[in-house]
Symmetry: C2
Amino acid sequence: MSRHIAGPEIERLIQLLARLPGLGPRSARRAALHLVKKKEALLEPLGKAFADAAQNVRVCATCGNIDTSDPCTVCCDATRDSGTLIVVEDVSDLWALERVGSVRAAYHVLGGRLSPLDGVGPEDLNIKQLLTRIEAGGVKEVILALNATVEGQTTAHYITDMLSGFDVRITRLAHGVPVGGELDYLDEGTLAAALQARTAL
Amino acid sequence: MSRHIAGPEIERLIQLLARLPGLGPRSARRAALHLVKKKEALLEPLGKAFADAAQNVRVCATCGNIDTSDPCTVCCDATRDSGTLIVVEDVSDLWALERVGSVRAAYHVLGGRLSPLDGVGPEDLNIKQLLTRIEAGGVKEVILALNATVEGQTTAHYITDMLSGFDVRITRLAHGVPVGGELDYLDEGTLAAALQARTAL
């Protein structure tokens, strides 16, 4: 706000809320007002939820996932097939794959992708721990579920090289036409990949 | 999330964040992940900001504004013209008018509008306190900055009736073409009002 029309606590609330992804200055104001109006129902519980999360959040030493326990909820889940390891760049990718729910595998979160321009090298990623897990045995397949970007694919190649000495099957996600997508709107790279990987009907 | 893939503290954070205006389930997940990744920079400060706000938030006994002090920041501002009282439905309207910043007046927040269908009568609004302020003297003009809806205008009429015995000028916001608006897209009611209230060039 240009002038002070609310107390410093509310101004600070707006400032911090505006730093959340998906909230701009306008929606942060709207959210802050909603919060102070619903003190018992929302402001206090959220304050407590924030404090609880801040106290308990940690990085899983096994897979690099961010959770409130270590080992994390996914690593602790005994119903998963620990012989299949899905390598993802980020926790958000793990959450996205879990929403699909079609594979009950273990995960490994790299915490980023190789990016020489941004100064991100192999030692900045959670790759050493990935090798340790595979050396420990039991892993039969590593699914590289990395982004289909140049950096994601560079990272995939690097990991493939590192794992070449191990007796594990290395796979990556298929490229192709998104379900519900129209050919006319697709880029040439995706179309070419979809043609090449065509399947028999 | 369909299955438990994160600890209960994170799941609860997502649930509560999704109840903020402007955040759906998807953006709440994104915000929660952003928060737990930025524990020191965002999660902890926001938790503290929520607790501070929850502890200090109160309704101003003078004007009905929601703030962290009573009297509120606006009522405490000695540079304002206390002879002009802008009556608004909600705190968000007060904030919106303050963003304009063209009038340095005092405010009065009704906390809603008359709505027989929703069971909101005059006694549910902050109208008695408005009369008390005007009886105390010093108010020369009351600007009814209520929404241009049926309920807002009903409320305006009611307040005009209540104030008929006092020696105060009662005004309302002008109707007309929004600045930057195109006539072709405007409703008939607005166009008729704009024609009727036309001004000489």
